[in-house]
């Protein structure tokens, strides 16, 4: 009886526990954040921390991604990973585009002014990478040398510290680590400061390089960055601590850092001169690069189409009789032609969420910016085209009582467009190639795909040359179709 009572008690206890577990699973953190998906941003040109699996799934993988997935799972969130340049990571946090950043990023006092950091989850050491035989072991040896470093990275800050103590160091900031490697190989810099795990990958693929860990250098710890006062920091720290305690972090580090990161380069084991091209190194990555084509084409076509419409509207305003509209269109054109496209792109992408609350995607921001920009250029071309149409055409229309807008639409614009077709083709070709600019806000189009492959394989020229070939073929195709179109339009002559 007593025993039975106890077992009933046990059942009740188990039931209570089960209920409490179920209750705890209806995630209070989700309720707090107000969504069930966390968005992480990273700069996936930094294997083994984060990079595109260009030979396989095409997804972003790496040490940081595994950690992020583990944390998201622990906190019962779905995880969405997006990408940008390293420079664009913190702005993305600041504009509430994303929930957190993982990119092998170190908590520095400067960054702490703008973002909050988790505890440090991994510590790497800085190394001096230099051409083989340079034998640069200590920072003092960097005196009088030009030293490359990734812009915005912790290594950049560390190098600046070094330069305070060691005289005569000339610092050259580069956007991405592969560029630093390429600068090294082309002897524009004498050395580069790169963290050990990344450096070993590059040295493995580039036998003409060597690296030495900087002995006394402070360690560069990686931490997760959040927007200031994010409520995610404590739960993330809790999970990170758990991962440290239960050995998960160590396991992941072994998984990612011990395997000789990339491998595809083994064909060139000896130091050669020249560009040393070997396209077989990217043969498996070609599908990944080709995936950028539809995006580039779609982007260009939509931008040209909308730009043409917007340019037409602007040109009509310019030739209208209404002075304020004229001045407005002229001012618009002068601003959009007078400032760099890259700047407009960054402003549209980063300012739109803050101004309107609408979280504009990188692709939308790209199309919007290119439409606004090419509209300004096209408006001038179209205006010229309209004014070049013989005055007799409008007089004939007017004398038959054809309303002004019909005259524009059916009589003047068709003739104007035919006249300016070559100029429009130029504009389209320009847009097609300028579309590479959207890679700076994280759209993986052709050029970005090529850079990603280059970063993964620690090589530079082959993917870029391949991308160049794709652009050239696309432009040729465009030129040819424009030629056919022009011939068709000219059949009336």
């Amino acid at each position: 009886m007593k025993k039975r009572k106890k077992s009933i008690f046990n059942i009740l206890l188990a039931a209570t526990l089960a209920i409490s577990i179920i209750l705890s699973q209806s995630n209070p953190l989700q309720a707090l954040i107000g969504k069930d998906t966390l968005t992480m941003i990273t700069s996936p040109d930094y294997p083994p921390y984060e990079y595109y699996d260009t030979e396989g799934s095409g997804n972003i993988i790496g040490f940081d991604i595994d950690i992020a997935n583990y944390i998201a799972k622990e906190l019962k969130f779905k995880l969405n990973v997006i990408e940008s340049d390293f420079n664009g990571l913190i702005p993305a946090l600041a504009t509430n585009r994303v929930d957190f950043v993982m990119a092998g990023m170190s908590p520095t006092p400067e960054r702490l002014k703008n973002v909050d950091f988790s505890i440090i989850y991994y510590t790497a050491q800085d190394t001096i990478v230099a051409p083989k035989g340079s034998n640069l072991l200590k920072v003092q040896q960097l005196s009088g040398k030009t030293v490359g470093v990734q812009l915005g990275s912790i290594q950049e800050k560390n190098l600046k510290e070094i330069a305070k103590k060691v005289t005569g160091i000339q610092i050259k900031q580069l956007n991405r680590v592969p560029e630093a490697i390429q600068e090294l190989k082309s002897k524009r810099i004498d050395a580069a400061i790169i963290e050990n795990n990344v450096a070993s990958g590059f040295a493995g693929s580039n036998p003409d390089l060597e690296f030495n860990v900087i002995p006394s250098q402070e360690n560069s710890g990686s931490a997760i960055a959040f927007a200031k006062n994010s409520s995610l920091v404590p739960p993330f720290n809790r999970v990170l601590q758990k991962m440290k305690d239960n050995g998960t972090l160590k396991q992941l580090a072994t998984k990612w850092f011990s395997k000789n990161t990339n491998i595809a380069n083994l064909s060139s084991t000896e130091v050669k001169t020249g560009l040393n091209l070997d396209f077989s190194r990217i043969s498996k990555d070609i599908p990944f690069i080709l995936r950028g084509i539809p995006l580039t084409l779609l982007f260009t076509i939509i931008s040209v189409f909308l730009g043409l419409i917007w340019g037409t509207v602007l040109s009509l305003l310019k030739i209208s009789d209404i002075k304020p509209l004229q001045s407005l269109a002229n001012a618009y054109t002068s601003v959009f032609r007078g400032t760099p496209l890259l700047l407009q792109l960054a402003l549209v992408y980063y300012a739109t969420p803050q101004l309107t609350g609408y979280n504009i995607s990188a692709l939308q921001a790209g199309v919007l910016t290119f439409t606004l920009n090419s509209g300004a250029y096209m408006s001038e071309t179209i205006r010229g085209g309209i004014q070049a149409v013989d005055k007799g055409q409008s007089e004939a229309s007017i004398s038959m009582g054809i309303p002004k807008w019909l005259m524009m639409k059916d009589i003047i614009l068709p003739q104007a467009l035919k006249n300016i077709l070559p100029a429009l083709v130029n504009e389209t070709i320009g847009l097609l190639k300028d579309s590479a600019l959207v890679s700076t806000i994280g759209v993986v189009e052709i050029l970005r795909s090529a850079q990603i492959v280059g970063a993964n394989k620690y090589i530079y020229f082959e993917p870029l040359l391949f991308a160049g070939l794709i652009y050239y073929i696309l432009v040729m195709g465009l030129t040819q179709s424009a030629f056919i179109l022009e011939k068709r339009l000219r059949r009336s002559e």
Partner: protein
């Protein structure tokens, strides 16, 4: 007195400091074929272009069938559909076929359905002797053919009056005859016409009335026989001596 189609009162037009038309008051009646003659720079084209307000007069009024069209409130586009113009340089729409040129305005402006406009257009092209050219583009036509298409295009609007602005001046001499022949036939249908021209033979044989402009004024306004046989003002005499 017959019904006035166009009436001008104290019409002045200047371009900057240049006074092109000075105080022209006259009227053109229904069914009249008026040849407007004068030395170059006398203002005859400007006078014609004022009649459908392609040029806005500086001063004075113009009436179309007793409606003052110089009044800014008037819907001038509506008036112009019955007051169409044929130009020296034809001004056909180069991106449309001949038939499309003829049917565009009837369809889009007058709202005639496409089938009806097409059959009407083909009828008119037949009238000007170009029915086999319906589907070619204007660039394939000679100057004379272009001008005949332009006349068909004007007729397709079923206007009350046609304004001809030197319709044969841009043509090679051998083309002139065809166009004048078409205009002559047109004159016989009783439609009102005002023609700025240098074709004295045509003016003499086809026009029912001559207006002679000199330095922006209406120097003579009379019948062809009277004008050619017995011009009153000295300028007209000199003009005729040069032209004939």
């Amino acid at each position: 007195m017959s019904e006035a189609i166009i009436r001008t009162e104290f019409l002045y037009k200047s371009f900057g400091k240049l006074d092109v038309l000075k105080d022209i008051s006259t009227q053109i009646n229904k069914g009249e074929v008026v040849a407007i003659l004068g030395p170059s720079g006398s203002g005859k084209s400007t006078f014609l272009r004022c009649m459908n307000l392609l040029e806005r007069p500086t001063k004075g009024q113009i009436y179309f069938k007793d409606q003052e069209i110089t009044n800014p409130k008037i819907n001038i586009a509506k008036i112009r559909t019955s007051l169409v113009m044929v130009f020296q340089h034809f001004n056909l729409f180069p991106h449309m076929t001949v038939l499309q040129n003829v049917t565009y305005a009837p369809i889009k402006v007058k709202g005639i359905n496409k089938q009806q406009a097409n059959s009407q257009g083909l009828e008119l092209l037949k009238k000007v002797g170009l029915s086999e050219k319906a589907d070619v583009y204007p660039s394939k036509l000679s100057g004379g053919q272009k001008q005949r298409v332009a006349i068909a295009r004007a007729l397709a609007m079923e206007p009350e009056m046609i304004l001809f602005d030197e319709p044969t001046s841009a043509l090679d001499p051998e083309m002139v005859k065809d166009v004048l022949e078409v205009m002559k036939q047109l004159a016989q249908t009783g439609i009102t016409m005002a023609i700025v021209t240098h074709e004295m033979g045509f003016a003499r044989s086809v026009a029912s009335r001559i207006m002679f402009l000199d330095q922006g004024t209406l120097a003579e306004d009379t019948t062809p026989s009277e004008f050619f046989a017995n011009p009153k003002c000295a300028r007209a005499k000199i003009f005729l001596e040069k032209m004939l």
